[in-house]
């Protein structure tokens, strides 16, 4: 609990530092909305003349993309910079600084690198998701809303896994960690469209090897009552749980990585 309070205080301190450059902070928020908003526009431009893809309408495809973006923008403020800067800390030996303080090194890294500039993207992704769900005829019943929240939590966990896994690899292979973590995250882009368009092997890869499709595709099949062919009928319901489990594995791996760490500084 003491850890949480300290993390919150450090993150708040971080916000105040960023707000010292108020204009710059708000410009950043605006540009990020424009940049991420443009990605929805590209999906719309691609699909507009085809009125969707396969049995998926344009709003349903936007639901897939919005779940991905919302999950990412909720995970990234915590881990994008903290995991991204880990490589630097290892190479320079400055990770020692985090190891000798009376707070868990991961919590310390997160707090000091917490990014507040994702707030505009979070808001935009949430609004787009709600609009797209409405346009897809989503049934706002309690079980489905709860499942939707679980889906987002699963998505956050999986993104957290990619950051932490990449971070943990940095302890063993410098540069490779960032590359693998980053690439797995980009792999999520493969699931911005329904994975039914891919051959079975690629669908299996995105389900069982790197379960990116479990962030959005399988949950959306349940949420939107889609009738599609699946590897197993239970996949839509278990997907968020698998992702949450992966998030836990990510934390374990990162902690294990810290045990491998041998300071390079002096």
């Amino acid at each position: 609990m003491a850890n949480f309070v300290t993390v919150f205080r450090l993150a708040y301190m971080n916000l105040r530092t960023q707000m010292e450059y108020r204009l710059s902070f708000f410009i950043w928020l605006g540009i990020k909305v424009l940049s991420y908003g443009s990605e929805y526009l590209i999906v719309w431009m691609v699909l507009d003349r085809f009125k969707g893809i396969g049995s998926w309408s344009i709003p349903e495809v936007i639901v897939l993309w919005a779940i991905l973006q919302l999950s990412y923008t909720l995970a990234a403020p915590f881990l994008f910079h903290s995991a991204g800067k880990l490589e630097q800390h290892i190479v320079r030996g400055s990770l020692d600084y985090f190891l000798v303080q009376p707070i868990h090194p991961l919590a310390n890294l997160i707090a000091r690198n917490f990014s507040w500039t994702y707030s505009s993207q979070q808001l935009m992704s949430a609004v787009v998701l709600v609009i797209a769900l409405n346009a897809s005829g989503f049934d706002w019943s309690l079980p489905k809303v709860c499942f939707l929240l679980l889906t987002i939590l699963g998505g956050i966990s999986f993104y957290a896994f990619t950051f932490l896994f990449g971070g943990a690899l940095n302890f063993r292979m410098i540069h490779g960690g960032r590359s693998i973590g980053g690439n797995i995250r980009w792999l999520m882009d493969l699931t911005q469209y329904p994975i039914g368009i891919y051959p079975k092997q690629l669908q299996a890869f995105l389900t069982f090897v790197v379960p990116a499709a479990m962030i959005n595709y399988y949950p959306a099949v349940y949420l939107l009552d889609k009738q599609v062919e699946l590897f197993h009928p239970s996949l839509p319901l278990i997907s968020p749980l698998v992702e949450i489990a992966l998030g836990q594995i990510g934390i374990r791996l990162f902690t294990k990585g810290l045990e491998w760490y041998q300071s390079g500084g002096g």
Binding site: K32, S35, I42, M45, R49, G176, W186, D189
Partner: protein, 269 residues
């Protein structure tokens, strides 16, 4: 003459040095290549699903696959890192060393970019293209001239990419931050360059705007020449547009450079 050769050697060393840094992390290279191919496949399957075997009004699946493969190949080496490099050197104060070298700062940056583009072409684009030719299938250009036009325009696109990024970097002399503007310009560029879609699939209003900007020379124009969508009779006009845009950017850069260098204040010591 000896002086020219000496200078050329110095510049080539810069490019080779950058190339070498890219070879250091081999695991990272294979991983990036594998994933690049996966992303390419995503777009290929997307267009196969959308267009199928038949023709949809004004484009076919094989045409779109050729377009996305070439766009993927170009994307891997056309992106310039000049803006970030300048920002980084400004913030750290390292820019002082760039100024005292007996080489023009602009040329150093350009050669860095060329080294990066050349290594990305060898390490990313060429294997990606080979993979696409083997497993995906790419339509050949209608003639050798179309192909030469494509190569020339792509090189022009590379220079335009450098100058836009470099000009953004120069703005950092005023703001100390190039990141925001770079993000903004990247967003605009992703629409106006034809990176994801050819202009013939754009809504009319967006196409009209995209035709006016220089970014089309990075993706759309070279690829549409390769595919024969832009007929050979229009190739001179496309090349002229490219030259005019490069001249405009060089002039803007020259004017901005004169103003900015007078402002430089380096902190620290």
């Amino acid at each position: 003459m000896a002086g020219v050769i000496g200078t050329f050697r110095t510049y080539t060393t810069f490019t080779l040095y950058f190339l070498k840094t890219r070879f250091v992390y081999r695991a990272s290279f294979w991983i990036n290549l594998g994933f690049s191919f996966l992303f390419l496949l995503m777009q290929v399957y997307l267009w196969k699903a959308l267009l199928g075997a038949g023709t949809f009004t004004d484009t076919t699946a094989s045409e779109m696959i050729t377009y996305v493969v070439l766009a993927g190949v170009i994307r891997n080496f056309v992106g310039s890192g000049a803006a970030y490099a300048i920002e980084d050197r400004l913030l750290s104060g390292d820019i002082v060393f760039d100024f005292i070298r007996p080489l023009s700062f602009r040329v150093q940056m350009l050669l860095n970019d060329l080294g990066s583009a050349f290594s990305s072409f060898l390490l990313q684009s060429a294997p990606l293209l080979a993979g696409a030719l083997l497993f995906v299938g790419v339509n050949p250009p209608p003639s050798l001239l179309h192909f030469l036009g494509f190569v020339l325009l792509t090189l022009g696109g590379l220079i335009i990419s450098f100058y836009t990024s470099y000009i953004i970097g120069l703005v950092a002399f005023y703001t100390m931050k190039a990141e925001y503007i770079d993000w903004l310009v990247s967003t605009i560029r992703s629409f106006l360059s034809g990176r994801y879609l050819p202009f013939w699939l754009y809504p009319g209003w967006l196409r009209a705007i995209a035709e006016l900007a220089p970014f089309k020379l990075m993706f759309y124009t070279p690829i549409s020449v390769y595919m024969g969508r832009t007929p050979l009779s229009e190739l001179p006009e496309a090349l002229l547009t490219m030259v005019v845009w490069i001249l405009i950017l060089v002039t803007v850069e020259f004017m901005l450079w004169k103003k900015t260098t007078n402002r430089l204040v380096v902190q620290g010591g």
